[in-house]
Symmetry: C2
Subunit: 159 residues, 2 copies
């Protein structure tokens, strides 16, 4: 019923990047690989700033400029290598599409993100789209609430 999604290998993603670049006659620069690797290894949801920091920790000095980060993240998203979601305050966050597919449960207190997959929902989504004559290409779902830990420590929600 509820599954955890399975992680792809880095090589697979790298190949995917290579293919995409080739297909569009774009160039395979070290920056793009470094960013891909940084996101893959750290495995989470990052703001562009965090991606910048992670990418430059991989290397010695701060080599990659932030403009490149933005350009690369946009590119990754456009070609399907990454996705962005924006919850509440922190603004846009990117994650590499290194998992088969999953949805998000977001704790509104601690901002923790729990990932999950539900086959049933996937299927119903398809059925709904079809019923509307809608050609679904992607989808996203977020459940907002309080995670188990935050519920325990809950006394007040503030005014």
């Amino acid at each position: 019923m509820i599954k955890k999604a399975k992680k792809k290998s880095f090589d697979k993603l790298l190949a995917q990047l290579g293919d995409t670049l080739k297909k569009h006659s774009l160039k395979n620069t070290s920056q793009r690989e470094i960013i891909l690797k940084a996101m893959y290894d750290n495995d989470g949801h990052f703001t562009p700033e965090e991606v910048l920091s992670l990418s430059n920790h991989t290397q010695k000095g701060g080599i990659i400029g932030q403009a490149t980060i933005y350009r690369t993240l946009n590119f990754f998203e456009k070609v399907g290598l990454a996705s962005s979601i924006s919850f509440g305050i922190d603004g846009k966050k990117y994650e590499l599409n290194s998992y088969e597919h999953h949805d998000h449960m977001i704790c509104v207190k601690c901002e923790k993100i729990i990932e999950f997959v539900s086959e049933e929902i996937e299927q119903i989504q398809l059925a709904i789209a079809k019923a509307q004559g809608f050609a679904m290409k992607d989808h996203a779902m977020q459940l907002y609430g309080e995670c188990q830990e935050c519920q325990k420590s809950t006394k007040e929600t503030r005014a």
Copy 2:
């Protein structure tokens, strides 16, 4: 199976606004009502800028300042009168919660938004949250793809 959500009356929303204001000892200004009405009448998903424009068309000269729009939209969202979602490019969009509850189907071509509700999905969501010990308070779901019209006129997706 797939329902269209039912629209609340404006009076109900207005009352909801009034109650909220009273409860927090805040003041019932014309601006807040105008913004509420503008969003209600136009019935859609708006950027703050659009809300500004709609609100000022209701009135004569451009009376409401944009700071007020931002403050009001944040307020509406905080108290549950409105919700924001951010799809792709256009940034954050607000919609009044004038419908019972619904999810969104978003055409990636023309950016049209189709709303729908699925009881089944609602229930599965609850079950999933419960299984994780997650106290779900809200949720959102978006299906991305091409709407019927755009599929008809499809030849190219661009590079």
